[in-house]
Protein backbone atom coordinates (compact mmCIF):
# COMPACT_ATOMS: atom_id res chain seq x y z
CA UNK A 1 0.00 0.00 0.00
CA UNK A 2 1.44 3.34 -0.91
CA UNK A 3 1.22 6.48 1.17
CA UNK A 4 -2.24 7.85 1.99
CA UNK A 5 -2.85 11.58 2.43
CA UNK A 6 -5.67 13.91 3.42
CA UNK A 7 -7.22 14.98 0.09
CA UNK A 8 -7.70 18.54 1.38
CA UNK A 9 -3.92 19.01 1.70
CA UNK A 10 -3.22 19.31 -2.04
CA UNK A 11 -6.18 21.67 -2.43
CA UNK A 12 -4.80 23.94 0.25
CA UNK A 13 -1.47 24.06 -1.57
CA UNK A 14 -3.27 24.71 -4.85
CA UNK A 15 -4.92 27.81 -3.37
CA UNK A 16 -1.53 29.40 -2.63
CA UNK A 17 -0.10 28.31 -5.99
CA UNK A 18 -3.11 29.90 -7.74
CA UNK A 19 -2.37 33.25 -6.10
CA UNK A 20 1.35 33.12 -6.84
CA UNK A 21 0.78 32.20 -10.49
CA UNK A 22 -1.85 34.87 -11.19
CA UNK A 23 0.22 37.64 -9.57
CA UNK A 24 3.27 36.42 -11.49
CA UNK A 25 1.31 36.42 -14.72
CA UNK A 26 0.10 39.98 -14.18
CA UNK A 27 3.59 41.25 -13.33
CA UNK A 28 5.02 39.38 -16.32
CA UNK A 29 2.49 40.92 -18.69
CA UNK A 30 3.34 44.34 -17.25
CA UNK A 31 7.01 43.49 -17.88
CA UNK A 32 7.88 44.04 -14.25
CA UNK A 33 11.20 42.49 -13.21
CA UNK A 34 9.50 41.24 -10.03
CA UNK A 35 7.80 38.55 -12.15
CA UNK A 36 11.12 36.68 -12.15
CA UNK A 37 10.87 36.27 -8.39
CA UNK A 38 7.51 34.55 -8.83
CA UNK A 39 8.88 32.23 -11.50
CA UNK A 40 11.72 31.23 -9.21
CA UNK A 41 9.41 30.83 -6.19
CA UNK A 42 7.05 28.54 -8.10
CA UNK A 43 10.00 26.55 -9.39
CA UNK A 44 11.40 26.08 -5.88
CA UNK A 45 7.99 25.13 -4.44
CA UNK A 46 7.29 22.58 -7.17
CA UNK A 47 10.78 21.10 -7.00
CA UNK A 48 10.39 20.85 -3.24
CA UNK A 49 7.07 19.01 -3.48
CA UNK A 50 8.45 16.63 -6.09
CA UNK A 51 11.64 15.74 -4.23
CA UNK A 52 10.88 16.31 -0.53
CA UNK A 53 7.08 16.32 -0.23
CA UNK A 54 6.94 15.55 3.50
CA UNK A 55 8.85 18.69 4.44
CA UNK A 56 7.09 21.01 2.04
CA UNK A 57 5.98 24.30 3.62
CA UNK A 58 2.40 23.78 2.35
CA UNK A 59 2.30 20.35 3.96
CA UNK A 60 3.70 21.69 7.25
CA UNK A 61 1.28 24.62 7.43
CA UNK A 62 -1.60 22.33 6.54
CA UNK A 63 -0.78 19.65 9.07
CA UNK A 64 0.17 22.05 11.90
CA UNK A 65 -2.35 24.87 11.49
CA UNK A 66 -5.21 23.85 9.25
CA UNK A 67 -5.88 20.17 9.67
CA UNK A 68 -6.34 20.30 13.47
CA UNK A 69 -9.20 22.75 12.91
CA UNK A 70 -10.97 20.55 10.35
CA UNK A 71 -13.08 17.47 10.85
CA UNK A 72 -11.27 14.27 9.99
CA UNK A 73 -11.62 13.43 6.28
CA UNK A 74 -14.16 10.78 5.28
CA UNK A 75 -11.54 9.09 3.12
CA UNK A 76 -7.83 9.32 2.61
CA UNK A 77 -6.42 9.58 -0.86
CA UNK A 78 -3.55 7.74 -2.47
CA UNK A 79 -0.59 10.09 -2.83
CA UNK A 80 0.38 8.92 -6.32
CA UNK A 81 -2.01 10.91 -8.56
CA UNK A 82 -1.55 14.26 -6.75
CA UNK A 83 2.19 13.65 -6.69
CA UNK A 84 2.11 13.04 -10.42
CA UNK A 85 0.15 16.26 -10.82
CA UNK A 86 2.93 18.07 -8.93
CA UNK A 87 5.44 16.63 -11.41
CA UNK A 88 3.42 18.03 -14.30
CA UNK A 89 3.40 21.40 -12.54
CA UNK A 90 7.14 21.07 -11.97
CA UNK A 91 7.56 20.57 -15.72
CA UNK A 92 5.81 23.86 -16.38
CA UNK A 93 7.78 25.59 -13.63
CA UNK A 94 10.96 24.46 -15.40
CA UNK A 95 9.57 25.97 -18.61
CA UNK A 96 9.21 29.27 -16.74
CA UNK A 97 12.82 29.20 -15.57
CA UNK A 98 14.00 28.33 -19.09
CA UNK A 99 12.09 31.36 -20.33
CA UNK A 100 13.86 33.46 -17.70
CA UNK A 101 17.33 32.18 -18.57
CA UNK A 102 16.87 32.49 -22.34
CA UNK A 103 15.05 35.80 -22.00
CA UNK A 104 12.01 34.47 -23.85
CA UNK A 105 9.19 36.15 -21.92
CA UNK A 106 6.46 34.15 -23.68
CA UNK A 107 7.69 30.91 -22.08
CA UNK A 108 7.47 32.36 -18.58
CA UNK A 109 4.01 33.75 -19.30
CA UNK A 110 2.81 30.37 -20.62
CA UNK A 111 4.22 28.73 -17.54
CA UNK A 112 2.31 31.11 -15.24
CA UNK A 113 -0.90 30.69 -17.25
CA UNK A 114 -0.80 26.91 -17.20
CA UNK A 115 0.13 26.68 -13.52
CA UNK A 116 -2.65 29.12 -12.70
CA UNK A 117 -5.28 27.22 -14.70
CA UNK A 118 -4.39 23.83 -13.22
CA UNK A 119 -4.06 25.08 -9.63
CA UNK A 120 -7.23 27.16 -9.82
CA UNK A 121 -9.29 24.23 -11.15
CA UNK A 122 -7.95 22.07 -8.34
CA UNK A 123 -8.52 24.62 -5.61
CA UNK A 124 -11.89 26.06 -6.64
CA UNK A 125 -13.53 23.15 -8.45
CA UNK A 126 -11.82 20.10 -6.96
CA UNK A 127 -10.73 19.15 -10.46
CA UNK A 128 -7.19 17.77 -10.49
CA UNK A 129 -5.96 17.90 -14.08
CA UNK A 130 -2.82 15.87 -13.42
CA UNK A 131 -4.76 13.21 -11.50
CA UNK A 132 -7.12 12.86 -14.45
CA UNK A 133 -4.17 12.41 -16.79
CA UNK A 134 -2.67 9.77 -14.53
CA UNK A 135 -4.95 6.87 -15.50
CA UNK A 136 -5.03 7.84 -19.18
CA UNK A 137 -1.23 7.91 -19.37
CA UNK A 138 -1.01 4.61 -17.51
CA UNK A 139 -3.46 3.11 -19.93
CA UNK A 140 -1.25 4.03 -22.83
CA UNK A 141 1.73 2.62 -21.00
CA UNK A 142 3.48 5.96 -20.64
CA UNK A 143 3.91 5.67 -16.88
CA UNK A 144 5.61 2.93 -14.95
CA UNK A 145 4.08 1.12 -12.01
Amino acid sequence: MSQQIDPRGPRFGAAITTLLAIIGLYLGLEQQPAAAAFTVTLFVLFAWSVFLPTYHPYALVFSKLIRPRLKPPSDLEDARPPRFAQQVGYGFAILGVVGLLTNVATLSLLSFAFIFAAAYLNWAFDFCLGCQMYLVLKRFGLLGK
Binding site: L29, F116, A124, F127
Partner: protein
Protein backbone atom coordinates in the same frame (compact mmCIF):
# COMPACT_ATOMS: atom_id res chain seq x y z
CA UNK B 1 -4.84 47.95 -18.26
CA UNK B 2 -4.45 45.49 -21.12
CA UNK B 3 -2.62 42.99 -18.93
CA UNK B 4 -5.35 43.20 -16.31
CA UNK B 5 -7.89 42.41 -19.02
CA UNK B 6 -5.84 39.41 -20.17
CA UNK B 7 -5.50 38.11 -16.63
CA UNK B 8 -9.22 38.52 -16.01
CA UNK B 9 -10.12 36.70 -19.24
CA UNK B 10 -7.89 33.80 -18.25
CA UNK B 11 -9.68 33.66 -14.89
CA UNK B 12 -13.05 33.81 -16.67
CA UNK B 13 -12.25 31.06 -19.20
CA UNK B 14 -10.82 28.77 -16.53
CA UNK B 15 -13.88 29.40 -14.36
CA UNK B 16 -16.13 28.42 -17.27
CA UNK B 17 -14.21 25.16 -17.65
CA UNK B 18 -14.57 24.56 -13.92
CA UNK B 19 -18.31 25.26 -13.86
CA UNK B 20 -18.84 23.04 -16.90
CA UNK B 21 -16.96 20.29 -15.08
CA UNK B 22 -19.09 20.67 -11.94
CA UNK B 23 -22.27 20.74 -14.02
CA UNK B 24 -21.47 17.68 -16.12
CA UNK B 25 -19.78 15.71 -13.35
CA UNK B 26 -21.43 12.38 -12.62
CA UNK B 27 -24.23 12.80 -15.14
CA UNK B 28 -23.43 9.86 -17.35
CA UNK B 29 -24.88 9.06 -20.74
CA UNK B 30 -27.04 6.48 -22.42
CA UNK B 31 -25.28 4.19 -24.83
CA UNK B 32 -26.53 3.69 -28.35
CA UNK B 33 -24.95 0.35 -29.07
CA UNK B 34 -25.77 -2.18 -26.37
CA UNK B 35 -22.58 -4.16 -25.92
CA UNK B 36 -23.09 -7.55 -24.32
CA UNK B 37 -20.79 -7.81 -21.28
CA UNK B 38 -19.43 -11.24 -20.44
CA UNK B 39 -19.31 -11.13 -16.65
CA UNK B 40 -17.33 -14.37 -16.55
CA UNK B 41 -14.39 -12.56 -18.14
CA UNK B 42 -14.38 -9.68 -15.64
CA UNK B 43 -12.70 -10.09 -12.23
CA UNK B 44 -15.80 -8.80 -10.44
CA UNK B 45 -15.90 -8.69 -6.68
CA UNK B 46 -17.96 -7.52 -3.76
CA UNK B 47 -16.10 -6.19 -0.70
CA UNK B 48 -12.94 -7.73 -2.09
CA UNK B 49 -14.44 -11.20 -2.47
CA UNK B 50 -14.79 -12.55 -6.02
CA UNK B 51 -18.49 -12.53 -6.85
CA UNK B 52 -20.46 -13.14 -10.01
CA UNK B 53 -24.12 -12.59 -10.43
CA UNK B 54 -26.29 -10.49 -12.64
CA UNK B 55 -29.09 -8.53 -10.99
CA UNK B 56 -32.64 -9.54 -11.86
CA UNK B 57 -33.34 -6.11 -13.35
CA UNK B 58 -30.05 -4.28 -13.42
CA UNK B 59 -26.36 -4.57 -12.55
CA UNK B 60 -23.96 -1.75 -11.78
CA UNK B 61 -20.23 -2.30 -12.12
CA UNK B 62 -17.83 0.16 -10.51
CA UNK B 63 -14.32 0.26 -11.95
CA UNK B 64 -11.78 1.33 -9.35
CA UNK B 65 -8.06 1.59 -8.84
CA UNK B 66 -5.90 1.42 -5.73
CA UNK B 67 -4.89 5.05 -6.15
CA UNK B 68 -8.41 6.36 -6.68
CA UNK B 69 -9.32 8.73 -3.86
CA UNK B 70 -13.05 8.89 -4.42
CA UNK B 71 -13.64 5.18 -5.09
CA UNK B 72 -14.20 4.03 -1.46
CA UNK B 73 -16.91 6.65 -0.92
CA UNK B 74 -18.66 5.70 -4.15
CA UNK B 75 -18.41 2.02 -3.22
CA UNK B 76 -20.24 2.71 0.06
CA UNK B 77 -22.97 4.66 -1.71
CA UNK B 78 -23.52 2.03 -4.38
CA UNK B 79 -23.51 -0.81 -1.85
CA UNK B 80 -26.25 1.06 0.00
CA UNK B 81 -28.16 1.51 -3.24
CA UNK B 82 -27.94 -2.24 -3.87
CA UNK B 83 -29.31 -2.83 -0.37
CA UNK B 84 -32.20 -0.44 -0.91
CA UNK B 85 -33.21 -1.43 -4.44
CA UNK B 86 -34.67 -4.79 -5.36
CA UNK B 87 -33.44 -6.57 -8.45
CA UNK B 88 -30.15 -4.68 -8.45
CA UNK B 89 -26.70 -6.19 -8.20
CA UNK B 90 -23.57 -4.14 -7.46
CA UNK B 91 -20.15 -5.42 -8.49
CA UNK B 92 -16.70 -3.86 -8.48
CA UNK B 93 -13.68 -4.39 -10.71
CA UNK B 94 -10.18 -3.30 -9.67
CA UNK B 95 -8.35 -2.25 -12.83
CA UNK B 96 -5.10 -1.16 -11.17
CA UNK B 97 -3.23 -4.00 -12.89
CA UNK B 98 -5.73 -4.59 -15.65
CA UNK B 99 -5.18 -1.75 -18.08
CA UNK B 100 -6.44 -4.11 -20.79
CA UNK B 101 -9.92 -3.89 -19.25
CA UNK B 102 -9.60 -0.10 -19.02
CA UNK B 103 -8.70 -0.01 -22.71
CA UNK B 104 -11.55 -2.33 -23.68
CA UNK B 105 -14.19 -0.15 -22.04
CA UNK B 106 -12.38 3.11 -22.82
CA UNK B 107 -12.09 4.01 -19.14
CA UNK B 108 -10.07 7.17 -18.62
CA UNK B 109 -10.96 7.92 -15.01
CA UNK B 110 -11.93 6.06 -11.87
CA UNK B 111 -14.48 5.55 -10.61
CA UNK B 112 -16.32 4.74 -13.81
CA UNK B 113 -19.71 3.10 -13.38
CA UNK B 114 -21.35 0.92 -16.03
CA UNK B 115 -25.03 0.00 -15.91
CA UNK B 116 -26.16 -3.32 -17.42
CA UNK B 117 -29.74 -4.36 -18.04
CA UNK B 118 -31.17 -7.76 -17.15
CA UNK B 119 -29.63 -9.25 -20.32
CA UNK B 120 -26.12 -8.06 -19.33
CA UNK B 121 -26.16 -5.43 -22.06
CA UNK B 122 -24.34 -2.20 -21.41
CA UNK B 123 -26.92 0.59 -21.46
CA UNK B 124 -25.49 3.50 -19.45
CA UNK B 125 -22.12 4.75 -18.25
CA UNK B 126 -20.93 7.38 -15.82
CA UNK B 127 -17.37 8.72 -15.63
CA UNK B 128 -16.40 10.05 -12.21
CA UNK B 129 -18.44 10.19 -9.03
CA UNK B 130 -22.02 9.36 -10.05
CA UNK B 131 -24.94 11.65 -9.38
CA UNK B 132 -27.01 9.24 -7.28
CA UNK B 133 -30.39 10.70 -8.19
CA UNK B 134 -29.77 10.38 -11.91
CA UNK B 135 -28.34 6.89 -11.47
CA UNK B 136 -31.41 5.82 -9.46
CA UNK B 137 -33.67 7.16 -12.23
CA UNK B 138 -31.77 5.08 -14.80
CA UNK B 139 -32.07 1.98 -12.65
CA UNK B 140 -35.81 2.55 -12.22
CA UNK B 141 -36.15 2.62 -16.00
CA UNK B 142 -34.65 -0.87 -16.03
CA UNK B 143 -37.20 -2.08 -13.52
CA UNK B 144 -35.16 -2.04 -10.31
CA UNK B 145 -37.26 -0.54 -7.52
Amino acid sequence: MNSLLLVLSLVAVTSLVGFAYRLLRGRGRELERHELVDLDRLPTQKNGIPTKGLGRNATIIQFSTEYCGQCPGVRRQLAQLEYRMGGLSFLEVDITDRMDIAAHFGISQTPTVLVLNSEAELVYRIGGVPNLKLLTDELRKLGAI
